[in-house]
């Protein structure tokens, strides 16, 4: 019996190795595992053996049966073309470039504007807007910049008529919002502004974000707290900043905020003109004169305001050295962001 099993084994092994078609597989299956197959018949004859031998031969016969099944199935897969060997046939070049889907880009200035706006929105500020063509009153007078004041020299204005101008900053939104709403207020106002100035660092049209907060008991310390929070959110936790006295007609006390130069980390370079510091925003406590224009009682309410140029922030963030690149709209530039 043992030798009979061995004989079948030898035959099956060689037949499976040389099998070429699915028909041959099915033939082998019938020949050995079918009702009258060699292995089936052998198993039937097991009953004639003594119990000891029956047990031993029975076990190895069943293992052998499974072995045949597995190998036939494997062969069948290969023949159907799904076997590893078959998939390895021919040549496929994975180094050809990928067929990329075209995704456009948001303009870097819009991107920075959104990022900055969102940081302030997380801090509870609400977005407000105002017209780009503005009355002199909102742009200057109500911000405590009377006609004939030297502070007007700080901002070169485009005029349409004597009283209608292109806004030189987003600060008029402060006045417009305070005229309409009563405090407390927490407002952020992004938008385009215009000044007659054009060179490597000045564009006649640029973007600003204005922010202000009015409530009872708002202090200069609060101004420092909020702006430091912003700077660390945007430029990183480890970026040093300083508040430096300055002058804006619509805030008092006024402060310029500098951050440690992002290029040289404070040691002094061309970008920061050797100071180690970069000016990034102007701020201050809202001047009581401004409150009087919008009929808020400065004894009851205090507040702070700040404004920053988006181009400057984008230039620092991305290391752009010429502001005009933002408005040339060269796609090779725009697609880098």
């Amino acid at each position: 019996m043992k030798s009979r099993l061995q004989e079948i084994k030898n035959k099956v092994e060689s037949e499976i190795t040389s099998v070429k078609t699915e028909d041959e597989i099915s033939d082998i299956r019938i020949k050995y595992l079918g009702r009258k197959g060699a292995l089936t018949l052998l198993l039937k004859d097991l009953s004639t053996l003594p119990p000891d031998e029956r047990k031993e031969i029975g076990k190895s016969s069943n293992e052998f049966k499974n072995w045949i099944e597995d190998n036939l199935n494997q062969k069948q897969k290969e023949i159907k073309g799904k076997g590893v060997e078959n998939l390895k046939k021919g040549f496929f070049d994975i180094t050809l470039p990928g067929k990329q889907a075209v995704i456009g880009n948001i303009h870097p200035l819009a991107k920075v504007l959104n990022e900055v706006t969102e940081i302030f929105m997380v801090m509870g500020f609400t977005v407000a807007e105002g017209p780009e063509i503005e009355f002199d009153y909102y742009n200057f007078e109500a911000l405590n910049i009377p006609k004939d004041h030297p502070a007007r020299d700080m901002q070169d204005t485009f005029y349409i008529t004597d009283d209608v101008i292109l806004r030189t900053h987003t600060s008029p939104v402060q006045i417009r919002t305070m005229e309409k709403c009563s405090p407390p207020l927490k407002i952020i106002a992004p938008g385009k502004v215009y000044r007659c100035d054009a060179d490597v660092t000045h564009s006649p049209m640029f973007h600003q974000i204005e922010g202000f907060m009015v409530d009872k008991d708002i202090t200069f310390g609060d101004l420092k707290g909020i702006l430091e929070l912003f700077v660390q959110q945007y430029f990183g936790k480890d970026v040093a900043l300083r508040f430096r006295p300055s002058f804006f007609p619509f805030t008092e006390p006024s402060a310029e905020v500098d951050i440690h130069c992002v290029i040289c980390k404070g040691s002094g370079c061309r970008v920061c003109k050797g100071t180690g510091w970069l000016e990034i925003l102007g701020s201050g406590m809202i001047d009581p004169a401004v409150f009087s224009y919008v009929k808020y009682n400065p004894e009851e309410w205090t507040g702070f305001a700040f404004g920053m140029g988006i181009e400057r922030i984008a230039m620092l963030k991305y290391g752009v050295d010429d502001i005009r690149l933002f408005y040339e709209n060269d796609l090779r530039f725009l697609k880098q962001f």
Partner: protein, 714 residues
């Protein structure tokens, strides 16, 4: 303003090095340009004899610091170092100034104080080298001893002075008055100015001899031949000087200081110091006595300050003594009213201090901003929101970039010539524009009424640089003049006056969305595809679809800048929201554009009102759909829309979708015909459809197409 380190040391004691001083001033609000090591310094910056030049960038409020002594006072306040006022003693000789000159101020409002001295027998010659060096160090050109002294004192004390050639003063009379009508004056720089009656002049008995506070006249200036000097030191009204300076386009160190406000109490000191120095350096004599026309003494404000208010605004807790100490260092004198309140007398040089808040700022500045602790306000304002258009703009940017377009930003101003370039009819509303009065260039001279020229120019700019694959969009405003605001027209005087009338209304600002694609598509795909009108149309449909706007219709359009056939007006719910189409080839040629460009411009304001933001879930189909294709051949002038309508009208219950999947014109079908193939999707939510449900409807679709359009099955 430039000063030198050693010059400053003449008036205040301090131990800071030049770079420490620079930092000290910067952190007190007087921003200084840092001192670079000598090799990096530009010409002159290294100063003379080891001195250092410090450039101070002053804010407009600090008129008191436009002088060496002004900055010395500040350094004294910051360091506690002793401040020394310049020597103002005068060695007078004999004579009496009143017998040599008389002064009449006819416009005391414009000239609150006028003082003068006479120095006789001077010798006009080059200055001694110490004086020349100082003048050069701060960026001025040495002229002669007399002129150099006026500049030197102006720089040192902040008081502008003017030296007249005494012999040139007719009638020995000085009259400070408004200019006469038709009066003119040739200033020292040899330019002739026709004066306005608003301008203040210094005149003698016959003519104007100086444009007060701005520049002297050529008719009375100091020359080599001058023997006697009439030296003027005055306080002029800042606004009047500012207007005069602007009117005549003359900006001098003198006008700059006067328009910011000089120290009316320092007028005499500067006069005396300059007169004494002139006599000393020119071997002359100061005539006894001085003119001082100061009819109405200018009073200084007394400002109330509350300690509690100071601490409340700054978020600190300084004691009264600390605050008093700060104010004393700034040379303010103080009267204590009660525990909280003090009265502060402001010195005459601090024109910027008028209110309590001004004093609070001084306290903050001297205390040091860095010492104020940062806090986070606990606000009752809790809701953060963004405006409707803000949140939409963000969403729209995301949709358009996902559709492959890149955002561009063009200037809001443009050139009127582009209306000709896009062939806009003369009476087109687009031509109703707002002109800038003072544009930087013709290219940026009018406010745009359409985004199109900017979009085309951006495409051309890129194509000219070899980027043929352009897909761009822009979100920005256009500006439509209000009918009551007229800025157009000719440059006639009459028109100008009309413009000066206070405008009551602002223009209308409309938020627009514009864009363009070129025919060539992205090179990153090696199986190249081309874009056309339908690509653009699909883009706009996809975009609007993402905003849940579905009732979109396209109508033929007649626009000078759009291809007469390949263009469409876009309507949502019957409302016109813009156009799209191929740029008219004639217009393209005008822009030197050699590629086909497909453009669109839509009203974002209107789109926002049409967009549906509230989305509701629609349940998924419960039963399977059955797909049936249909291919027809019909006359090629029949519009696709008509075919669609006929299919649509055949059944509206189980026919869920009608999708065109093939379009063919060519050799396989007769000339003048086209083949359209649609995939029709049948489905109902009630049960699984059978052939029996669909066949009658499908037959009817075919019959209707045949009967109404003459279409035959292919």
């Amino acid at each position: 303003m430039k000063i030198t380190y050693n010059w400053l040391k003449e008036f205040v004691e301090f131990k800071h090095s030049p770079s420490e001083l620079s930092k000290l001033l910067t952190m007190a609000g007087l921003e200084t340009t840092p001192l670079l090591p000598p090799p990096l310094q530009g010409g002159g910056s290294e100063g003379v004899d080891g001195d250092h030049v410090i450039e101070v960038d002053l804010t407009p409020n600090r008129s008191d610091c436009h002088s060496v002594i002004g900055i010395a006072r500040e350094v004294s306040a910051l360091t506690g170092g002793k401040f020394k006022y310049p020597d103002i003693s005068v060695k007078e000789s004999d004579g009496d100034i009143n017998s040599l000159i008389s002064v009449a101020v006819e416009s005391p409002q414009l000239c609150p104080r006028y003082t003068a001295r006479i120095i006789r027998d001077v010798r006009v010659k080059p200055s001694p080298s110490w004086l020349e060096k100082k003048v050069i160090a701060v960026g001025l050109r040495p002229i002669n001893n007399i002129v150099d002294i006026t500049n030197y004192i102006l720089w040192e004390m902040g008081q502008p002075l003017h030296a007249f050639d005494y012999d040139s003063i007719k009638g020995k009379k000085i009259i400070v008055r408004n200019a006469h009508r038709n009066e003119s004056l040739t200033t020292l720089d040899e330019k002739k100015h026709n004066l306005s009656e608003d301008s203040l002049v210094i005149a003698d008995s016959e003519r104007a001899v100086a444009l007060a506070g701005v520049m002297g006249g050529g008719n009375s200036g100091v020359t080599q031949a001058t023997r006697d000097i009439l030296l003027e030191s005055a306080y002029f009204n800042p606004i009047s000087i500012r207007r005069t300076s602007r009117r005549h386009g003359i900006f001098t160190d003198s006008s700059y200081r006067f328009e910011r406000g000089v120290d009316n109490e320092g007028v005499v000191a500067a006069l005396d110091r300059a007169a004494n120095l002139m006599a000393e350096l020119s071997e002359g004599k100061v005539v006894k006595g001085r003119i001082d026309c100061y009819p109405k003494k200018i009073s200084y404000p007394q400002v109330d300050l509350r300690i509690s208010r100071t601490n409340k605004i700054l978020g600190i807790s300084l004691s009264r003594e600390q605050i008093l100490n700060i104010l004393n260092r700034l040379m303010f004198t103080i009267k204590i009213v009660d525990d909280d309140r003090i009265k502060v007398n402001v010195p005459s040089f601090r024109k910027d201090i008028e209110r309590e808040i001004d004093l609070i700022e001084e306290v903050a500045r001297l205390h040091g901003y860095e010492k104020i602790l940062k806090t986070i306000p606990s606000s009752k304002v809790s809701v953060s929101a963004s405006t409707m258009s803000q949140s939409f703009e963000k969403e729209i940017r995301n949709i358009l970039t996902s559709l492959g377009l890149t955002e561009v930003i063009n200037y809001s101003f443009t050139d009127e010539k582009y209306f000709d370039a896009i062939n806009t009819p003369q009476d087109d509303p687009l031509r109703k524009i707002m002109k800038l009065r003072n544009p930087l260039s013709q290219n940026w001279s009018v406010m745009r009424t359409t985004l199109l020229p900017g979009i085309i120019n951006t495409a051309v700019f890129n194509i000219n640089r070899g980027i043929y694959d352009v897909g761009i969009f822009e979100i920005g405003k256009v500006f439509i003049p209000h009918k009551n605001l007229t800025t157009e027209g000719t440059e006639t005087t009459e028109n100008k006056n009309q413009l000066a009338v206070k405008s009551e209304v602002l223009p209308i600002e409309r938020m627009m969305l514009g864009g363009a694609i070129t025919e060539k598509s992205e090179k990153k795909i090696w199986e190249k595809g081309e874009r056309d009108f339908y690509y653009l149309k699909g883009l706009v449909e996809s975009f609007l679809g993402r905003l849940n706007i579905h009732d979109i219709e396209f109508f033929p359009i007649n626009l000078s800048y759009i291809h007469p056939q390949k263009g469409a007006c876009v309507k949502i719910n019957k409302e016109d929201i813009g156009y799209l189409g191929e740029l008219n080839p004639a217009v393209a040629e005008g822009f030197d554009l050699k590629e086909k460009l497909y453009v669109f411009e839509l009203s974002l304001d209107k789109i926002i009102t049409k967009a549906v933001t509230e989305k509701k879930y629609t349940h998924l189909p419960k039963y399977p759909s059955i797909y049936r294709d249909i291919a027809i051949v019909l006359d090629n002038h029949i519009k696709s829309e008509d075919v669609y309508k006929i299919i649509r009208e055949t059944d509206n219950l189980i026919l869920k979708e009608i999708n065109l999947f093939d379009y063919y014109e060519g050799r396989q079908i007769p000339v003048g015909k086209k083949s359209l193939a649609y995939s029709l999707v049948y489905r109902t939510d009630e049960r699984t459809l059978t052939e029996e449900d669909i066949n009658p409807i499908h037959e009817k679709v075919i019959a209707n197409l045949r009967d109404k359009l003459g279409a035959v099955l292919r």
